[in-house]
């Protein structure tokens, strides 16, 4: 019993850490540009498929190389998607809705492309660490530990970037006061595209990390989009700290509900918690109005 609970907690922590990485990315785009990216889940699958393709290349045999190549690919992809699809809409009326529609279209396009290119069968990635820690009934795979630390590492790197680099500071500036950012001469257009690109990397990394435990499927991103959205709304739209707490709460909740009631209950309970939270605190855990 005690080991079972330990397992559940560990699994909650690990999933929570990856959710945190992905939710922070979604919160970031919303916080900076007030746009909601419906293709976010498909970018998760894209990360998985990129890793799958990279592993198909003969000279790639470890995750270090995969990350080294996947990160710039995702960065460039995100940047151009923003420039080509989102940026032109920003000058129009009701652009927020239009951005939702176009990213929804992009999601469907990407998912169907995955289906055509890779087929609808599940794809899997090799575990990036073998072996496990074992003590009696207690079991913890090295892979899980690795996923946890890579996610946390990703979030810490992101935090460092926001607080210590010029581009990071300009991202925060645009999120806090777009008019003020324009006054000091920050190129807003570039910040929007950079933000989109960074969030694409974060969710794509999440896709690569989780694809080792679960599988890559053409439509697998929707579950992630829903979860990332729940976390973002639960934590408070635009609040990164709120998103972090919410990600771990959701990870734990999912893990306990799945263990106690069965996996089919997890989304129901998640939405029940989200709705209750929003009924009591419409701005989410740590969100601000507006």
């Amino acid at each position: 019993m005690i080991f079972e609970i330990a397992d559940v907690i560990i699994s909650g922590l690990i999933n929570g850490s990856v959710y945190a990485l992905m939710a922070v990315g979604l919160t970031l785009i919303y916080g900076v540009s007030k746009a909601f990216n419906f293709a976010y889940g498909s970018f998760y699958s894209l990360g998985g498929y990129i890793a799958f393709l990279l592993f198909g290349l003969s000279f790639i045999n470890n995750y270090f190389l995969v990350f080294l190549l996947a990160v710039p690919i995702l960065l460039v992809f995100g940047y151009f998607v923003e420039k080509a699809l989102v940026a032109p809409l920003r000058k129009r009326d009701d652009w927020e809705i239009k951005v939702m529609m176009i990213t929804l279209g992009l999601a469907l396009f990407l998912d169907n492309s995955f289906q055509v290119i890779f087929g609808s069968r599940m794809k899997s990635l090799p575990p990036f660490l073998e072996g496990s820690f074992e003590a009696g009934d207690f079991y913890l795979s090295h892979q899980d530990v690795g996923i946890f630390f890579l996610s946390i590492g990703g979030i810490l790197m992101f935090r460092w970037f926001l607080n210590n680099t010029r581009t990071g500071m300009s991202v925060r500036a645009v999120a806090q006061n777009p008019a003020g950012a324009q006054i000091v001469g920050i190129p807003k257009e570039f910040v929007f595209a950079a933000t989109f690109a960074i969030s694409t990397v974060m969710v794509g990394m999440g896709g690569i990390l989780l694809a080792q435990k679960y599988f890559i499927t053409p439509m697998g991103g929707w579950d992630i989009l829903v979860k990332a959205w729940v976390i973002t709304a639960f934590g408070g739209m635009g609040s990164i700290r709120g998103g972090l707490y919410a990600a771990f709460i959701v990870g734990m909740l999912e893990s306990f509900v799945g263990w106690y009631f069965g996996m089919t209950w997890t989304l129901i309970v998640l939405f029940a918690v989200l709705l209750t939270t929003l009924a009591v605190r419409p701005q989410g855990l740590m969100g601000k109005w507006g």
Binding site: M169, Q176, I183, V184
Partner: protein
């Protein structure tokens, strides 16, 4: 240094500035007066590249700057200081100041300018790590001006610095404007609640309904009963 010839500015379909022409010479303090909502801020914002639709001719040191965005203009030395301050609320005083030096041309001067700004506003030095949201109206105003100075500007457009200030801080604002000008920075100031600022002015403009209705020295303005009563508060 700054010259506007027949400038028109629009917000969507709303025609705000109508054939505005003005000139600010190097080293001058020029003050613009006029009723609220008649386009004074729009003049400053147009010069600083913050209004989307501007027609006519705007020149900075004989270079045509019409249609340039703020990113370029800040880099060239033209900076706007907003009436409602437009600070970054969840950032510290120091971070706000550092972002003031965002443009390429300001980066290499960041350290020197930070020292200058702290000498001008000693209180900001003591409150470097305080977040901007927790500052009083007067302190936030100082921070907005200081952030503008961090851009290494040679021309500053200062919009209603007295807005939201207690009357006893107005003298201080006038003093600071004088000090900034003494450092060789050319100023175009919109302000009518601080009589001391009009006494600093090399030239006054009055803007009414989007048009320049008066241009001249303070003495000329004092000879005009209409202006004297309405804008100079005498």
């Amino acid at each position: 240094m700054i010259k506007l010839v027949d400038v028109n500015a629009y917000y969507q379909d709303f025609h705000v500035l109508k054939n505005v022409s003005l000139e600010v010479k190097k080293g001058q303090v020029v003050v613009m007066l006029g009723p609220n909502g008649h386009g004074k801020s729009t003049v400053l914002k147009s010069i600083c590249g913050l209004v989307e639709k501007v027609t006519g001719l705007m020149e900075y040191e004989s270079e045509n700057i019409t249609g340039m965005g703020s990113e370029k203009l800040v880099n060239m030395g033209i900076t706007y200081i907003a009436e409602n301050r437009e600070l970054f609320p969840q950032m510290t005083v120091l971070e706000n100041l550092k972002l003031g030096a965002y443009s390429r041309s300001a980066r290499s001067h960041e350290k020197d300018n930070l020292e200058k700004v702290f000498d001008l506003f000693p209180r900001l030095r003591d409150r470097q790590s305080q977040s901007a949201a927790t500052m009083s109206g007067g302190e936030a105003r100082m921070l907005a001006i200081a952030r503008g100075l961090m851009s290494n500007a040679r021309f500053l457009a200062i919009d209603e610095p007295s807005l939201g200030l207690q009357p006893n801080l107005r003298d201080e604002v006038a003093k600071i404007i004088k000090q900034i000008n003494a450092q060789g920075i050319t100023l175009l100031v919109v302000e009518q609640n601080i009589p001391q600022i009009t006494t600093l002015a090399d030239k006054l403009y009055v803007l009414e309904e989007g048009r320049i209705s008066f241009e001249g020295s303070r003495e000329d303005a004092l000879g005009n009963d209409h202006l004297k009563e309405i804008f100079l508060g005498m």
